[in-house]
């Protein structure tokens, strides 16, 4: 036992000694960044990268709030979480001079609502959320969110929805034409009733399983992220991803500079590194979503560059990001979600 404690503390000492030499501590999703890219960064800069992982935006927020802030240099939250973290002072800012590659960010992703002018974050990957349908089961029109919220008979009882408040409530609001963060009681009541009615036609709630239930045939239609739909198709399921006429949800994962980053300079170097088109493309080729960086096309795999999931038709209704509502309004949406799942 004693030996173990000594070795462990020796290891800790080693780790902190190395931190002064040049390390980078990344808080990231598991399997969301190719190891080759990390190795390339280390080879180019001599900075050793340690990666710690989390499995949901909220879990990351919780563990940072519980005391891990100050241990990591960068993290990769989704759009709405960038806004929340920014508002609670968990992010550091950088200047345009420091972020030399900031011009590589595609213009439409520069002035985003969750980080105006990109002062704390850079785009990592983005994608959309709507739904996919197994074309062997249902051959009709799938251009409306009604497939999920008022399904045709063929699909009743065979629908999986994401087990995620944001996605379900926003897609439901889009279906009814209600704005996000509404405080209009009639609208909210209508949303709640519509969802409770629709629930009887749903087979299951599941986010991590959204792809697998489509591939196995357990579900014939389901809310799904575009990347998961592409993977389901690649695994042999005859699924079609829809960009519904009512709109869809956009999401973007961003790399943020955390407050009290122990290796701030290295973090900036890493973010600049990820803004190089070749490196951004490497992430996209691995994760199969879309990069927010200009000039990645020459480096992309053909299948990813041309996939129907990643390339909405020109006349598709544009997607919307999740808005962060004020506390009182959010409490109403929380109540609707609890009511739906009680």
């Amino acid at each position: 036992m004693k030996l173990l404690f000594t070795t462990t503390s020796a290891l800790c000492l080693l780790a902190s000694a190395a931190a002064a030499e040049g390390t980078l501590s990344v808080y990231h999703w598991f399997e969301y960044m190719p190891q080759e890219l990390v190795d390339k960064f280390t080879a180019e800069t001599g900075i050793a990268v340690t990666i710690d992982t989390y499995d949901s935006n909220e879990a990351m927020l919780a563990s940072l709030k519980a005391g891990k802030l100050g241990q990591y240099d960068v993290a990769v939250p989704a759009d709405f979480m960038v806004a929340i973290m920014g508002a609670s002072g968990m992010l550091d800012t950088f200047t345009a001079e420091e972020m030399t590659n900031i011009a590589n960010i595609a213009p439409q992703w520069l002035d985003v609502p969750f980080d105006q002018g990109r002062k704390s974050s850079i785009p990592y990957q983005w994608g959309s959320t709507s739904f996919a349908v197994n074309r062997d089961v249902y051959k009709g029109d799938i251009s409306s969110l009604g497939i999920i919220f008022n399904p045709p008979d063929e699909l009743k009882g065979k629908i999986n929805v994401l087990d995620s408040q944001n996605e379900v409530l926003i897609l439901g609001s889009l279906y009814l034409g209600i704005p996000q963060c509404s405080t209009d009681r009639d609208q909210l009541r209508a949303l709640s009733e519509m969802l409770v009615n629709a629930k009887q036609h749903w087979a299951s709630f599941g986010s991590d399983t959204a792809k697998d239930v489509m591939v196995s045939g357990d579900a014939a239609a389901g809310m799904i992220y575009n990347g998961f739909a592409a993977k389901a198709r690649a695994e042999g399921a005859n699924v079609e991803y829809s960009y519904p006429k009512e709109g869809h949800v956009l999401w973007m994962d961003n790399m943020v500079l955390l407050k009290d980053a122990p290796n701030r300079d290295n973090a900036i170097k890493f973010m600049n590194f990820l803004l190089e088109p070749e490196n951004a493309a490497a992430v996209t080729n691995y994760a199969a979503y879309t990069s927010g960086v200009l000039g990645v096309e020459p480096f992309l795999d053909e299948a990813i560059r041309t996939s129907p999931e990643n390339n909405p038709p020109a006349d598709a209704t544009p997607g919307v990001f999740a808005q962060v509502c004020d506390d009182e309004t959010q409490a109403l949406y929380d109540a609707i979600w609890i009511n739906l799942k009680k």
Partner: protein, 268 residues
Amino acid sequence: MALRSVRHYPGFFSVALICLIILYAPLVVVMIYSFNASPSLTNWGGVSLRWYFDVFTGPEAPRFKAAAWNSLTIAILASTIATGIATAAALAMLRSGKFKGRSLTFALINLPLMVPEIVIAVATLIFFTMVGITTGYLTILIAHITFCIPFAYLPIAARLQGIDGSYEAAARDLYATRLQSFFLVLLPLLAPGVVSGFLLAFIISLDDFIITNFVKGAGMETLPTAIFGSVKQGIKPNIMAISTLMLAVSILFVTLSYLINRKGRKGP
């Protein structure tokens, strides 16, 4: 004949067989699909070893190797220490007479069972931060020992309750010290309980995700955190290959323990 008839209840053997079938049926699926040529978990694409190559030579191979190593060493250390602590506690609870606070201690021992894991996870991380302990291997180990204690304690205590105290009393009458009578008389009698407790603590530690996910530090990964963390890519058959390899290791352990046991029994 009388012995046979009272030992054996009709149907018990079939139930045990059903039990094993239920336990192993899902594993057959795991083993078969670890050889799947397709990247799918559910669609069969022909036989292939690609996921085994991925596990050993793929870009993520070092991380999975480290994760498996961490998981196994933490499980062995945590369950061993927890079993020791639980055995001591069981002796005090059942072999030291009645005392004030016995019910309270019983509740304390079982507390890790009662508190939902996510609450332990968040609360423990806040606690570690408050007292200034950096998260890492040691914090995972401490947390695992703590929640393993009731899993080790309950089988050991159940066993101890069934052991007649007169064995030890006889040993003491023959001038055995308390230590001698424990190790030479009580422990062999207690062994099935200790082994059961150790095995339960071991599998509960090996499987833990929620608490580990919060109290682990930078660069630390265990197999469960790697498996549960695969939300961005979805679970791939490489996890099936890793699981099959873990099974192989465990079966190796079983065989070894059987051989050692048999050899020990054949000896003098």
